[in-house]
């Protein structure tokens, strides 16, 4: 539909970018035409982000040319990219929580446009209404939901004369319903002639939204397709290559006796922008996986911290395991009772950035015979780390490599391996495959399923609904610190869980306050 137009708005010619030890982009070519929504697909480390950063002027290509509306350009910095009409919405928002929407947007504008905040506020209202993105210019950002914050980022791009909008995994933080709204906006923008570059891992979304797709693997363009004409399976195949398994369905289990029991857990968050847990009730059985869906920042972190013992609850009986009531026990004693935990932050919590894998293995696995009489058995510790690296195919320069030298996905494999290897009776895992490539995700899922089949109670918190449906036996959602009903996966639907994520728990009836902050 777009290839008929003669001149591409943006064209990349043989772009190469080299980092020490790796060729991040290898002679990449790409043409974008006005009005086109173009997907950039590829696994982590395929070179998508590098390419986007070069278009947005964050870095410069080593070789090759960028043509903007037919003319070669040298984009030295993001301000120059914005002046050309290129906008980018990053995966991690860059907003000041204590400033208002208008002030945040003013910060990214040239000084003369930012001076009159009233006029800017009017323009923000205008733009947001025009594209169906509800936004209150005077609201402080910390009071906005994640979806609304993303709208701020997008409006920030639209307020200037935008010709190319780059979105880096924009849907990973949204509920299914919010994703719908975003897509409407993007389609409208495209209809008005704006180009959109859309980076995503979610192939069904790409199929629903994008006109064309370019697939990167190992820094090279390995395929182009029209997503609507392909299946998610066939696109995934192009992304990972022929020899990697891409998806499996797992048998659902009933589970045995209750292992983890949470009763009427309410807890304030120490963080002023945190979420208060409200009357959480939850049971996780031996030999089952319970999944908790939800948009980030709805109490997941607080719930996991209360379960892991990093934050103590108010009454001992609020959380119990077969060995007794644990809600007031510190993390170490819970670990001794068989708890293992994969936290959300891999670096800086799940692993010490400056320590080697060997030492990071010891971090939590000290109970597995690695310490005797207060002395570390480094021989055993090394063997332990090596077995994780081998069995979970952690790509690293050896067990002496520091945790921070690993890619996010590989470090995640190491951390999950470390926790699983301790044969826990209860495993808590936050976002087990977030940012992990397809091959590694499959390996992690298999390991979790094996652990479940060995009788471990597993609780998984994730933002990826598809993943939760794939591996969980029972599922619920968390919204504003409240837990939805817990249902067997086969008795519910993505649509219903999506409703729960938005706070509609009782047959569509909206809970009080559920949307108060939206």
């Amino acid at each position: 539909m777009t290839t008929a137009q003669p001149q591409p708005r943006l064209s990349l010619r043989n772009i190469s970018k080299r980092f020490p030890g790796v060729l991040a982009n290898d002679r990449v070519c790409l043409n974008l035409y006005p009005g086109e929504i173009h997907a950039m697909l590829g696994e982590n480390g395929a070179g998508k982000s590098t390419l986007m950063k070069m278009i947005y002027g964050v870095m410069k290509p080593d070789e090759g040319e960028i043509l903007w509306q037919g003319l070669p350009v040298d984009i030295a910095e993001p301000a120059q990219a914005r002046a050309l009409g290129i906008g980018m919405v990053f995966q991690h928002f860059a907003l000041f929580e204590t400033l208002s929407v208008t002030e945040n947007i003013a910060l990214s504008l040239p000084a003369r446009e930012a001076r009159d905040l009233k006029a800017l506020g009017r323009r923000i209202r205008e733009v947001s209404e025009r594209y169906g993105m509800a936004l209150e210019p005077d609201r402080l950002v910390h009071s906005l939901s994640i979806g609304a914050r993303q709208r701020v980022e997008i409006v920030r791009c639209l307020i200037q004369d935008i010709k190319l909008l780059i979105l880096d995994e924009p849907t990973s933080v949204l509920t299914p319903q919010e994703v719908e709204g975003l897509f409407q906006t993007l389609k409208q923008l495209a209809a008005e002639g704006c180009c959109i570059l859309f980076i995503s891992h979610k192939l069904n979304e790409v199929r629903a939204l994008c006109h064309n797709a370019t697939i990167l693997r190992g820094g090279r363009v390995t395929g182009e397709c029209k997503p609507a004409e392909e299946s998610a399976q066939s696109i995934a195949r192009m992304m990972v290559g022929e020899d990697t398994p891409i998806s499996t369905t797992y048998e659902k289990r009933q589970g045995g006796d209750d292992f983890l029991v949470v009763r009427n857990l309410s807890l304030d968050s120490p963080d002023p922008f945190g979420t208060r847990l409200k009357n959480i009730n939850l049971r996780v059985r031996k030999g089952e996986i319970v999944g908790i869906a939800g948009v980030a920042g709805n109490g997941q972190d607080e719930l996991l911290a209360a379960l892991s013992g990093e934050r103590l609850a108010e009454e001992a009986g609020q959380i119990s395991m077969p060995a007794g009531r644990i809600a007031l026990l510190p993390p170490l004693q819970r670990r001794n009772q068989g708890l293992a935990f994969v936290p959300e932050e891999r670096l800086g919590r799940g692993a010490v950035p400056d320590m080697s894998l060997e030492e990071n293995g010891l971090l939590t696995a000290f109970g597995a015979g690695l310490v005797k009489n207060g002395f570390v058995n480094w021989g055993k510790t090394r063997a332990f780390a090596r077995s994780i690296v081998d069995d979970f195919r952690v790509k690293c320069a050896g067990i002496g490599a520091t945790a921070q030298s690993l890619s996010g996905g590989n470090l995640q494999k190491f951390i999950i391996g470390r926790e699983i290897r301790q044969n826990p009776s209860l495993l808590l895992a936050a976002h087990p495959t977030w940012g992990v490539d397809i091959g590694a995700a499959v390996a992690i899922h298999k390991a979790l399923i094996e652990l479940r089949d060995a009788g471990t109670a597993i609780l998984i918190v994730s933002e990826d609904i598809d993943e939760l449906f794939q591996i969980s036996d029972r599922i619920c959602a968390i919204c504003h610190g409240e837990l939805s009903p817990l249902k067997a996966v086969r008795d519910t639907s993505i649509d219903e869980v999506g409703q729960w994520m938005a706070g509609h728990f009782d047959d569509g009836a909206e809970r009080e306050n559920a949307h108060a902050q939206d």
Binding site: F19, P20, P331, Q333, F341, P343, E345, P353, L363
Partner: protein, 366 residues
């Protein structure tokens, strides 16, 4: 054009080279300083760094000076590995000296072989007590240990002055602020006939070995390192932060207290107001100069002891003020901090810098 850019990864080489570079810069600046003072730089440096250790007695004095610095610095290194910023080794040393002296004065008329060990133990316990105060203040009231330990240094000094002017003053000492001379049973045996070098040197070397094993082989040492590198990971793994904070401060207090009691029972032989010429502060420089590594600290403590002796020597030989000691210490620390900048940054010439800079930031983002 000269540019400064962030290194993609920190340089290990510079980590080791930085103390050496700092020492060299200190020497160069020292030479300039002598020149400005109207002395020959070569002669000045010779008097400062070579003459003090040109004979056996000088070498033995180096050991005498290095031992207390080394003991304090080993304790501080453990604290700093846990990112517990204990500045209080001086106070812990003084309090150890005070309590040790009190104990020694109880043994003025005894020949018992138990006297000396008990005195040393009392000194170490005194130091531990002085280390426990900031530890508990931090674990129970969340106070900043930098402030509390500094304040406690002055309190310890004044308590010591009170003791030496008051209850511990020698009744037959013509009202001089000094305690009675300790009896032979509470004086440290010397290692070499005719020198002042005492068995405290062996304690210091033992401390090096113990701390080395503690940090590299024991689980508690591992926990200390994790706490220092990444407190959230320590919390996640279930390590007891409070207990670790108390442990490192007790350990440092014990070692510094031992250093203090070794001073009064060794080279000094009685309690005097000037027990320490700032050993506890010098040890901070030594700990960082030695990269918080036991072996590095051993070398750095020798250098620092030499600086103390050099200051005395130029006073005697060239008639220059002893304040040069403090000046050299200060330069050493200043240059070390400046050179440490090169661990994370590098200096480049020319235009290619722009390209490599973006590569560096990019590889961090990737």
């Amino acid at each position: 054009m000269l540019r400064i850019e962030k290194r993609p990864v920190e340089s290990r080489l510079m980590g080791y080279l930085s103390p050496v570079l700092a020492a060299v810069l200190t020497l160069v600046s020292g030479a300039l300083l002598f020149l400005l003072l109207g002395q020959s730089p070569a002669e000045g440096l010779h008097a400062f760094f070579i003459m003090p250790v040109s004979d056996l007695y000088g070498l033995s004095e180096l050991g005498v000076k290095a031992a207390p610095i080394l003991l304090c610095a080993m304790g501080l290194a453990v604290c700093y590995r846990a990112k517990v910023w204990n500045i209080g080794a001086e106070g812990q040393l003084l309090f150890g000296a005070l309590i040790g002296s009190w104990a020694a004065l109880q043994f003025l008329h005894t020949e018992s072989a138990w006297a000396l060990p008990l005195v040393l133990l009392a000194g170490a316990l005194g130091g531990m007590f002085w280390g426990l105060i900031p530890a508990l203040l931090r674990t129970h009231f969340n106070t900043n240990e930098i402030l509390t330990t500094i304040m406690l240094n002055y309190i310890a000094l004044n308590v010591l002055l009170y003791g030496v002017h008051g209850p511990l003053k020698d009744p037959e000492g013509y009202n001089f602020p000094e305690s009675a001379l300790f009896s032979d049973s509470t004086l440290l045996p010397t290692l070499l006939e005719g020198t002042r070098v005492h068995i405290g040197v062996l304690f210091a070397l033992l401390a090096v070995a113990v701390v080395w094993v503690l940090l590299s082989r024991t689980f508690i040492g591992f926990q200390i390192r994790v706490l220092g590198l990444d407190a959230r990971a320590a919390h996640y793994a279930g390590y007891h932060e409070k207990r670790l904070v108390i442990f490192v401060l007790l350990l440092c207090g014990g070692l510094a207290g031992l250093a203090g009691v070794l001073e009064v029972t060794g080279p000094i032989g009685q309690l005097v107001p000037q027990v320490s010429p700032g050993y506890g502060y010098a040890a901070i420089i030594v700990a960082f100069l030695g990269r918080l590594h036991p072996l590095g600290i051993l070398l750095a403590s020798l250098l620092m002891a030499l600086v103390y002796m050099g200051g005395e020597m130029v006073q005697i030989e060239l008639g220059l003020p002893q304040a040069l000691t403090g000046l050299f210490q200060g330069m050493l620390l200043l240059y070390l901090l400046a050179c440490d900048f090169l661990i994370h940054y590098r200096v480049r010439w020319g235009d290619r810098a722009a390209v490599t800079k973006s590569a560096a930031t990019a590889s961090q983002g990737a």
